[in-house]
Symmetry: C2
Subunit: 198 residues, 2 copies
């Protein structure tokens, strides 16, 4: 079957993910990937200049796929506060689900992401932009009182780091993890509220 399919970057990435899943990050070699593709490892280097760049591309694919639902929430309509909370909870939930479902795979992803810090940085910037977009909507709706949208978006991202940054993943199984998320989100959303007489 492999024989009649041309060798494309996309196909290499698919097979690389599979090899990573089977062998683990430490054991997976370019030779393994080439063997799974039924080509020589020289051919893989025709499409990716180095093993590092191959891994980087895999990391990017993973990040994009995992966080696709977030863009949708950011673009949706309705009251911004509820949307922001939904977005933040979704981001936290995605990470938490990943680490609970398949911790070994998550460790692989984590190590990959640490290498590919350029890719991760770009990804984070996109996420912060999505928060910015919701904040802008909220300001227009009169629900949020935000001076510097961009800085505030980053502040929200930073303040929730403990719940979405992989370095903290071993703390997510804490029995009152959910309560701690609730407490932080409540505090942050209150800090954004436009002042009103009560």
């Amino acid at each position: 079957m492999n024989e009649n399919v041309v060798l494309t970057p996309e196909r290499i990435l698919e097979v690389t993910e599979d090899v990573l899943r089977r062998f683990g990050l430490a054991k997976a070699t370019v030779v393994d990937v080439a063997r799974a593709l039924d080509v020589s490892h020289g051919s893989v280097y025709r499409h990716f200049p180095s093993k590092a760049s191959l891994r980087e591309a895999v990391a990017k694919r993973w990040l994009d796929r995992a966080n696709a639902p977030l863009a949708e929430i950011a673009e949706s309509s309705g009251p911004a506060p509820a949307r922001l909370e939904r977005w933040l909870r979704a981001m936290i939930g995605i990470k938490c689900k990943k680490v609970c479902d398949d911790p070994e795979m998550f460790a692989t992803y984590l190590a990959l992401a640490q290498e590919a810090c350029k890719v991760v940085k770009a990804h984070k910037d996109r996420l912060v932009d999505q928060i910015s977009h919701i904040l802008d909507d909220g300001a227009k709706q009169g629900a949020f009182d935000v001076a510097d949208t961009k800085a505030t978006a980053r502040a929200l991202f930073d303040a929730t780091s403990r719940f979405h940054h992989p370095a903290h993943s071993d703390e997510w199984s804490d029995p009152d993890h959910a309560a701690r998320v609730d407490a932080v989100l409540a505090l942050l959303l209150r800090g954004l509220e436009a002042p009103r007489k009560r």
Copy 2:
């Protein structure tokens, strides 16, 4: 000189810190510590049941010493909001200074702290208690509107993790680190404010 001084846990801890500083965490052995103390390594085991417990004790000493100024701020008087901000900035500043002054030593401390997670947990609980204390004062002063003091204190600790948790230390050299701290603290302090007509 060593000969006329009795072997006490405190003296062992002092010398152990020195050995760690000179040899690094990976290379420092109980035999090294004993040699520096001019005793056999068996004697060290008379005061600490294991190498792990010795390291734990060193970690505790470090944590207590480094964060002593925080207790003072927590206990001081004056308006709670300013005090809380001072306390949080002090906590962040202590960590940041440590990593900037002596990154190698900080790495040692970090590895030690990761092993001695029980000690670290107790330490964190003490810090959260200090925040709670300030929040209580703020509530009494009418400056803060806080439903669950304990949960809110922990939320403040969690929300600032990015700026004080060692796992993020490599991000503290970011050129707009200070601006990010400002943005998060502003958001959090606004979230605590008692509502008032404006």
